[in-house]
Structures are given as C-alpha cells and as structure tokens.
Symmetry: C2
Subunit: 373 residues, 2 copies
C-alpha cells in the first residue's frame, strides 16, 4: 500500500528569494528585535491586532525539501505531490511573470528529482502574463519529469475562473492531460465575519472563507459551461471541494428553477453530479468522516485523494514532537469512514493518486499509515 | 405516519399591508402596464437587468392560508409550521417594531387557528426595538396556542448573532423552551460572484449565498460561546445548516490549531459535534441524499426535519400542475437515503418535528408521502 499526500505545499528557494525581496503582501521579513522570519500572505495579516500576530513564523519546513521528507517519514507518507503555496504568482507584474514561473517550475522539478519517486509537483502558471505565455508554460510543464499538473487560485486572469479569456488555458490543460489543482487564497470580504471576528483569531477566514471561496469558484466554472466545452478537463479541488459536495443538490435544484437560465437556454448542459464524477477530483482534507463520506458519495471512491496541507496547521506550542493533529484527524476520518472497506481506504490513501496522476509506484510502504500513526 | 413541513413561509395579511405601503426594499407593488403584484425583498432585485426581472410575482400562494392548505394537500403534508418569510421585521423603525410584531404574530396565530392541528407557526421578533420589548414578545409568544418558537435572520440587532446584547434574547428563548429558526436573507456581498454573475440569473446568491450566510452566522454563534452560556438553547437551522455539517470538521480543526484561542483560553468549551447533536436541529431542505446523510450524521436521525421552502421555488412555466420539483427532490433524498430504514425516514418526515416542537399528533395521514408523490 502506497500513501500519497497530494495537498502539501512548499516555497522553493527561488520563490523565497522573491518573497524576501518584497515589502508588500505577500512578503517575508523579520521584525526586530526578533530574528525569526515571518510570512505575510494575506492582506488581513499585515498588521497585528488583539488576536493575530503579523503573519506567521516561516522556517525551513516551508522551503527546505529535506523537512518535507522528514515530515513524510514521520507520518508514513510515501509520495508527496507538492505545490507552491498561495498566492503563487498572482501578484507579479506581467513583464516578470513568465520568466519567474519558468525559474520556479524548474526549481520545483529539480528539487523533486533529488528524491526520485518520493516527490512530484504541480507547476505554477504566470497568470499575469499573456495567455500565449501561460499556455506555452503549460506545454513546457508537460515535458518535465516530475510535474503532474498545475496549481491555481480562484482569480484566474483577475476576473475569476469563468472568464472566457481563460478558454485557451483550459484547452491546453485538457490537451496535455494535466490536472488543475484549484486552491483558495482570497477568502471572502472581511465584513462578512462581523465586528467580533478578530476575537476569534484566524478561525473564520481559514475555516470558512477558504472553502467557501473554492465553492463559489467552481460553481461559477460550472455555470459558465466550461465543462460542456472541455469535457476532458480535470480539476482537483482543495479541501474536498470547499463545500460543493454538500451544496451540489441545492445548486442543481436552483439551476433547475431559474427562469432566466431556462428562457435563455444557458443552463449548463451536464448535471453537477456528472461533472463531479467525471471532471472533479477531491482531496480528503476535510477533517471529518461526515465530510469525507459526502466527498466519496459525489466524486466516487476512486476520485478522492488523501492530503495534509503541510506545512500549515502545525502542532501548537508544546506539541511539536507529536504526529500532527491536522494529519491524524484526516487519517482518522478515512479509517472511521472506510475502515471495514479497505479497498476504499487504500484508494483514498494513495492508489487513486498513483493512478490518476501517474505517479509510478514509488517505494513500497512499510505499512498502513492508519495503523502506524 | 405524519408528514410535517417545518420550513414553509407565509406573509400574513398584516405583513402584506406593510409591504404594500412601502416603496423601498422590501416592498410589493405593480409595475404598469402589468397588473401583477411583484415582491422585491433583496436590494439586488430592485432593478431589472439582462437576467433577472425586478423581484418576483407574488400571488395568493404567499398570503392566503387556503393556498398553503391546498399545497399541503397536493404534497401529502399533514402539518405545516409556517414562518414569516425574510426579511421579517428587520427593516422597521424602532418605534414601530414592537407593535407591528404583536400585530403580525396575532395574525399568524389566529390564521393557524382557522385550521386546527394543521398549522403551527414560528413567531417574529421586533429586533429593531429595545431588548426589553424583544424579550417581552418572546414571553408573550409562549402563551399563544399555535406558536412554537421564533424565526430570525442573521443580523440580530444589526451586528450579527454573536452580539452580546442578544444574551437576554437567548436567555428568554432558553427559559421559555422556544426554538429559534435561523434563516438567511442577506447572502454575501455581490462582488464575490464576479462580473458574470448576472448571466447566471439568481443562481449564485440563492444556491450559495444563502447557505454560506447561515454557516457563517452559526459559526460566529458557536465561537462567541453562546452554547456554553445557554446549554438549553435550541436552534433550527435552515437548509440543513447551510453547510455546517460538511465544514464542522474543518471548523473544529482550525479552532484546535488557533494560537490566539489557545493563548487566551477563549475557544468554545464544547465541541462542534456536541453542539450539533444537542442544540442544533437541521431541516432537510438540502436537495440531495449526500447532503441529507451528512445532516443526519452530525445532528442525529432524530433531529433532522422535512421542509419545503414553499412558496419559493415554484415550478417553472408550463409545469404548474405538477407536484413541485423542489418538494419531490427533498422527498426523494429521504427515500434514497433511508428508504430501507423506515424509522429514520418517518422521523425526518414528521415524527421528529411532532416530538421536538410539540405539535400534538395532527390529523392522521392518508399514507406515506414518499409513495404518494
């Protein structure tokens, strides 16, 4: 049995250099007198208030691949498919984007090559560059030994993923058979959390803003007809689809009742259920068996993939030596949901990822993560 | 077997008079040359654009209780627990709120009394009045024969439900043993739907905005510690909790990893799972067996209640004589999920509501809605 982590982030050295050279979000710097580097990736983190320090500490677990391997060993993970963490290259001036993307993708691929068979990666697109430059990079990524697709946020070229100017991008992804890993970053406008939000630390934007952003993005994509136009396009959705599995029925029902979509004959041709089971892959980063079972119900047991979100959600102070709770919670959800149907658990833990992302067979695992952790 | 609809709306005559007297949202008026009355309840509906007519037609199915009964008969519903539809009385000047609430609650109770045993109601609170006036109305409602709780939106006194000034309201609800039916209205800021949103009719705000609003509201309520303080408070959540069942695991995990909540010892004392299974009741208005099973998984099979959302989501043109698709979809979800476990289906269809809301036994049903529809 092979355990594969398909939701795991890294800032390779070339990207760290970029973050250290900046002084607006996103950036990395020290705040004297502390010598600790801190990462500020969200506008809301760029100040300190009563409940949140400025950004978060960033150490080698973010950029040193040997820490990734050590984390994998600690948690019995055989293979990781790493991706650049948000906000990727969304913020780059157009003139620098294409070149930077190449530099970072080369760095990522070469780093994976240092641990053959244990690390693969999703590439990053220069979304502020021209569409020609973006599709060129997609085609270039296809030829790189350890790259298996691309990671993208929800902003696309700036107007979201239902922007028709993205069609050549979807076409190139479909054509080259590369998976698009959709990941949130922008969350929701902070006013939705109300005047007491800061009392709750980072909870509301992280626990709700992220998955709701993904859900809205993929709903817009479905409504725009992208999956009618590119039936071979494959998206891997972070956090088990945000909350698409739960809301798919309501979305389908509201579409069926919308007079405008009916009058203009512009409803998506394929049902949400059909898209979910053929074009969407869900990670298993959902922290409960309730959510995991819903994910498996809609996408199919062969299209849900274990992930950790490492290095985010590390243990709190005093618990650093333990297996990460954020990881064991997801292992436990798989065990609780499918412990008696081992074919399903094995699929979710790794076999599905190996097959869907063509990861070869990696090294043989020393055992089942479920039991070892 | 008794079938109970606990999510079904009405604008009683006193409320219609109020809406007809207004010319800002919410209001009812005709747009000549048409003689049809239209209801505009959301600011976003107060203009016509390419994809949405101004508001929606409003006919007697909204305000004539005999239409409610006819709808119930058509869909084999024995008992309905009606509630004023959004936006309730949120918009009233403080000086008028208390008196208007009494008028409307009296109207609602008297209307239910015309169909003894078939209609019950959630009352409406004068939330723009003083907290004393609000709690006084809660105590008055307790004595009314057909009232079984209150319906509320997510804005509370204007700052959301985690506003400490609402504590006396929660205390009065707990003390009088009345259920608070939490229902969305305000959705999310429209910018989250992107520049193409109007092409998709009302789909994004209705399918996603509503449930996400509810989810955020109840998460804020949990984080504020209300359920630690009022362990006997009971909320019925519209649309199966928005998407709380799916995101409960993530919410719990993010809370467990939040350094601020740990440092300040301000995390809610009770787990989300505990609150879900003891303080929250979910309706079954979720339009899929995936969602329904998740709802039952988190709240328990004895705390999920059938509902229709009538008179919203009527059949589109040309299908008016058919059973409503929006209703049969929810019946089907119950049948698909629990067809072989009739105790669960019967609980969700009506027995749970009869027990939890003390509805008596109503009239005897002529049969099982599942089979008749």
């Amino acid at each position: 049995m092979t355990i594969v982590d398909i939701h795991t982030h890294v800032y390779p050295p070339a990207y760290m250099d970029l973050l250290r050279s900046r002084d607006t979000v996103p950036y990395v710097r020290t705040f004297p007198p502390s010598t600790e580097e801190r990462l500020i990736i969200l506008p809301g983190e760029d100040s300190s208030n009563s409940s949140t320090a400025r950004g978060r500490p960033i150490g080698p677990e973010y950029y040193d691949f040997s820490y990734k391997i050590a984390f994998m060993d600690q948690h019995k993970i055989d293979i990781s498919v790493v991706s650049l963490a948000n906000p990727w290259l969304d913020f780059l001036p157009p003139s620098e984007a294409a070149e930077t993307a190449m530099l970072i993708n080369d760095d990522m691929d070469a780093s994976c090559g240092l641990y053959p068979g244990r690390l693969y990666a999703f590439g990053t697109l220069p979304l502020s560059a021209s569409v020609e430059e973006i599709t060129e990079e997609i085609r270039r990524l296809k030829g790189m030994p350890w790259i298996r697709g691309v990671v993208m946020g929800t902003s696309g070229l700036g107007n979201g993923l239902d922007d028709e100017r993205l069609n050549p991008v979807y076409e190139a992804l479909e054509e080259t058979g590369q998976t698009m890993f959709l990941h949130p970053h922008y969350g929701l406008p902070t006013e939705v959390y109300g005047p007491r939000a800061s009392e709750y630390g980072h909870v509301l934007p992280l626990a709700l803003g992220f998955p709701l952003e993904t859900t809205i993005a993929v709903a817009r994509l479905i409504l725009s007809g992208v999956f009618d136009k590119y039936p071979g396009l494959t998206l891997l959705l972070a956090h088990s689809g945000g909350t698409l599995p739960f809301l798919a029925g309501r979305l389908e029902s509201v579409i069926a009742h919308d007079a405008h979509l009916k009058d203009t004959n512009t409803a998506p041709k394929r049902s949400i259920w059909d898209v979910l089971s053929k074009n969407l892959i869900l990670d298993a980063v959902v922290y409960s068996s309730v959510g995991l079972k819903a994910a498996v119900d809609v996408a199919g047991a062969d299209r849900v993939l274990f992930g950790t979100d490492h290095p985010f959600f590390p243990p709190l102070e005093g618990e650093e030596d333990q297996p990460w709770l954020s990881v064991t919670t997801n292992y436990k959800a798989i065990n609780d949901s499918f412990g008696l149907e081992r074919g399903i658990a094995e699929g979710v833990l790794g076999d599905n990822a190996v097959r869907l992302l063509n990861l070869g067979f990696g090294r043989q695992s020393t055992g089942c993560g479920l039991e070892k952790i």
